[in-house]
Symmetry: C2
Subunit: 353 residues, 2 copies
């Protein structure tokens, strides 16, 4: 499954490609992990402790244009048309440095990104954002990367972005532990996971909650460093992933949902046992979880997953999405509820390549 290593240029060996487009625009979608990414083993290379597996969504794409600006002394960034500075610009610029290194080209770039996630929806835009940026920047700088290499590159911007390169379901490989950084970098990327015949929806309950008390980056670090429950969860998550792949292969939505729900609850359990505890579960989160339990009692195959925040994403058969959405709307009348389905791969926009 990792036979495509050889397609990718080693990160440390720039491959000049003077025929770049100089500008390119790409689109990518968010994804929701069914087997969670929780814990980094290398912060700089963004190497995870565990494999994860997600569903790319068909809503809220990010569209990003990268235009080389040879005359400029630095990179620029606009988000939704507004110039961005500080940490956000620094992070994008550091990402472009990786692309420049691979391409062997020094030019700065102007990045314009439009993210369609509604403000406060609590859906991280870093996955779709860095997936779109990876695809657009690689093209603009003249790199010809396959999807695996795009995934590996996107990973450096934000771990979960590695999965948004692919349509539908994708597994991000942690890769084997190795002291060789190039080898570790090469081995960690996402790839599509077949799930023919599965026709799911993901109903997202956006819960009205205050700002996060703890960033997910800090929460990951604290859990890994202090929670006595982290390592056993990581081991059980490897089992969950194997079972999840098998469940997807046989299009068994019930098993997919059960595994996803237990994997997510386990992740939150590791955080509750961190010191000090990290708790993203809000009262309204549990109200939604109670609604999901009631749906199952009523015979609806609905299963919950939660990330580093109070929102709940409920996997169910596409045919039941409206019923599930009605139940969740009733559970959190002051929140909002969205319905997503499996979405497309990240891609360059036509006319841009």
């Amino acid at each position: 499954m990792r036979a495509d290593h050889h397609l990718a240029p080693p990160a440390a060996a720039p491959r000049p490609h003077p025929g770049g487009q100089e500008h390119a625009t790409a689109v990518a979608h968010p994804n929701i992990a069914l087997i969670k990414y929780w814990g980094k083993r290398d912060e700089r290379l963004v190497l995870p402790r565990v494999d994860s597996l997600s569903m790319t969504l068909d809503i809220f794409p990010t569209t990003t244009r990268v235009r080389l600006t040879p005359e400029a002394g630095h990179d620029t960034l606009t988000l939704g048309g507004r110039p961005a500075q500080g940490e956000t610009l620094r992070r994008v610029s550091a990402f472009l440095d990786l692309v420049r290194q691979q391409a062997g080209r020094p030019e700065h770039a102007a990045v314009d990104s439009h993210n369609t996630v509604p403000t406060g929806a609590g859906l991280a835009s870093s996955a779709s954002g860095f997936a779109a940026l990876a695809v657009a920047a690689a093209a603009a700088y003249g790199l010809r990367l396959d999807a695996t290499a795009h995934s590996r590159l996107a990973r450096r911007g934000s771990g979960s972005a590695s999965r948004s390169i692919f349509a539908g379901f994708a597994q991000w490989h942690a890769g084997p532990p190795t002291a060789d950084e190039d080898e570790a970098d090469l081995a960690s990327y996402a790839e599509p996971v077949p799930a023919a015949g599965l026709d799911p929806a993901l109903v997202i309950a956006v819960v009205n909650a205050g700002p996060k008390a703890v960033s997910s980056r800090e929460a990951m670090r604290r859990t890994l460093d202090t929670s006595p429950l982290y390592e056993p969860w990581a081991r059980s998550s490897a089992d969950d992933l194997r079972e999840m792949r098998a469940a997807l292969r046989r299009a068994d939505l019930e098993a997919v949902g059960e595994i996803a729900e237990r994997n997510a609850l386990g992740m939150h359990a590791t955080m509750l046992a961190a010191r000090p505890a990290v708790r993203y579960l809000a009262p309204a989160t549990l109200t939604v979880l109670d609604g999901v339990l009631q749906l199952r009692k009523d015979g609806v195959r609905a299963y919950a997953t939660m990330d580093a925040g109070p929102n709940v994403k409920v996997l169910c058969p596409r045919a039941d999405a409206e019923r599930v959405a009605r139940t969740l709307r009733a559970a959190v009348p002051d929140g909002s509820v969205l319905v997503a389905r499996p979405g497309p791969a990240a891609r360059l926009l036509p006319g841009e390549r």
Copy 2:
């Protein structure tokens, strides 16, 4: 610390004592575990997987009278004046069998028990109930038991009852694993833990919630059998207990509270990872926990613990109890809030011995 083994009669060696009182009345109080009892290694002998440590409360005593009825063909039981039957009577009668075996006396008994925990308060009455029953029945059947032996006996009725024998803080020893049942029984009892100078209150937020979806007995079993996080929690709980004893010794309420809170969160984390998950935390539980976090931000030393239910018990300095109670009342306006302090040991009522 366990040098008092020799004071207790071996459970398997009945010690006839014909000079019994024939009737006796005892009173005992509930306790709240700060280091949790979660998981049995022997269901019949009620031997726990981990040591636990609790505070006996000064509220809601149970008063139980045991009167030998040599003429009767079976035991009888009244609870609050009303005759009890079925599983409740069976459990009390099985407990009296143990007392009869130890005393070498065959008579049946009439048990009258008055429990003052308000209905729906969600505070288990089995701890105070079996502690009072153990003390009263032992006296009625003419057994002269010390507190250790009372604790060991009470344990057989309900594990946490072993701790309600003692005033203030008490540790229930799991005892070393051994295939010898008599040895295992002898080694598992509670004993007082010194905490001179600590002046705490326990503010109890009784949350309005429906009946438990899963009994605590079933939840313990399922967690032990299926949660990948149980064993690591049990190991970390042993560390918590050592640190808790040290914190009590130096009357360090902040450390006592922090350790109690993390131990309880860890216990609930093990349940979330059970298959299927066991979740006692209700939306209102988290609302109370948010209130506790806010109290701490405001400089109040308040720490939460939760048992197999949605209620929250908040440890704080006695002087802050009213402030904490006000905050919790505001957090759960349709619940109720009680204030408890360290309570007395189980004892025979005067004139009854």
